[in-house]
């Protein structure tokens, strides 16, 4: 133990033990992550699609009259959203419960994030790229879309509403 390289920065042997323990844990977990990422060929989330953020409102997909909720042929839904300082547009969206929803989001200015607390919907919105994430909301109710990447003075008021409404499937037919 006299060869302990931590000796120069830390006197207390108990403290050194804890430092070693945390270092080993960090390396083991990092190694595991690396092993799984390499062995099962995992890539960063979603697809890589680029878009010109400065001309977003003049693009086809993120044009102002193309935003919101759309139904696809297979019954799933696509939600097209724009994140811009300081909000998500359109500011209120409604989707049915237990239905696959694909969010396609682009930033009109700087780096934003989106997170819907109490669900697993979360992604980063990087300017110049389209973020895509698919999820299903298992519970009805009112949720918030929050920005979770600091984006400027109004970051703390950057949020909008997501309403998950009941769907007839699973209930009584009407």
């Amino acid at each position: 133990m006299s060869l302990d390289p931590l000796r120069t920065i830390c006197e207390d042997p108990l403290e050194r033990k804890w430092v070693w323990l945390s270092l080993i844990m960090a390396f083991v977990m990092g190694g595991l992550l690396g092993f799984y990422a390499l062995s099962s060929n995992i890539h960063p989330p979603s697809n890589v699609e680029t878009i010109d953020s400065s001309r977003l409102h003049l693009s086809e997909e993120f044009a102002e009259d193309n935003l919101g909720v759309k139904r696809n042929d297979d019954g799933s839904l696509t939600v097209t959203l724009v994140a811009a300082r300081y909000g998500f547009y359109p500011p209120r969206i409604e989707v049915p419960v237990d239905t696959p929803v694909t969010f396609r989001i682009a930033s009109a200015d700087v780096l934003h994030g989106v997170h819907v607390p109490f669900t697993n919907m979360a992604t980063m919105i990087v300017p110049g790229y389209i973020s895509e994430v698919t999820t299903t909301f298992p519970r009805t109710g009112e949720f918030s879309l929050l920005c979770n990447e600091y984006c400027g003075l109004g970051h703390d008021s950057m949020w909008s509403r997501l309403v998950v409404v009941p769907e007839s499937a699973g209930g009584e037919s009407s």
């Binding site: 400065s54 001309r55 919101g68 909720v69 500011p91 049915p96 003075l153 949020w159 499937a169 037919s173």
Partner: protein, 223 residues
Amino acid sequence: MLRLLVVLTGMALLIPTAGAGPSSAVAFDVATVKMLKAADPARGEALAKEGKCKKCHGDFGISDDPEDVNIAGMSTSYLYKQLKDYQEKNRDDRDMYKVTRELDEQQLADLAAWFAAQQPAQPAADRNMDPAVLQLVFRGDPERLIKACASCHGRDGRGGQFDHPALAGQYPEYLVYTMTEFKEGDRGNDIYSRMRVVAEALTEAEIEGLAAYYGMAVPKEEE
């Protein structure tokens, strides 16, 4: 199934009607930003003389009429965007359409640069400091999805980046007028409805309170 249909119809109604087109054709891409940086205030001054801007906007961008906007000291990018929007009828005003119709983009940028270089008007000394209004200015109202005014228009109301105008030093009448236009959908050149969303949620009394906070003192009639 019927309920789902009702929900989907409801969602469709929330989306602005198709065919409306973009609310503004101006985009602050590299080319536009470069053009604005290279704009020449001296050429703008000559154009302002020629176009008789002072008839409504005063000699140096501060108007005599409290219903007109004070353009002195606003950002070049904001002024350029408004001029372009008037020209393309994305912001509706007969007079402004007539004077911008014949100008090219460089000339609009030059004009914008000249007025941006003028001394802005100051807010009134006895501005409205009602706590409810200050709350809206610095905190907003998250329940109604109202952002703090200061987050986009600056903590001093001097305006933010690109298309975020200065509010401080406008006539209260003009502020009420233009916010009411946003509220009622008569003005819609704010990209992605960013201002319309806020204005729709504000009450008329709140709009007046905010105008009295940001507004400049109205000069007394000259004897």
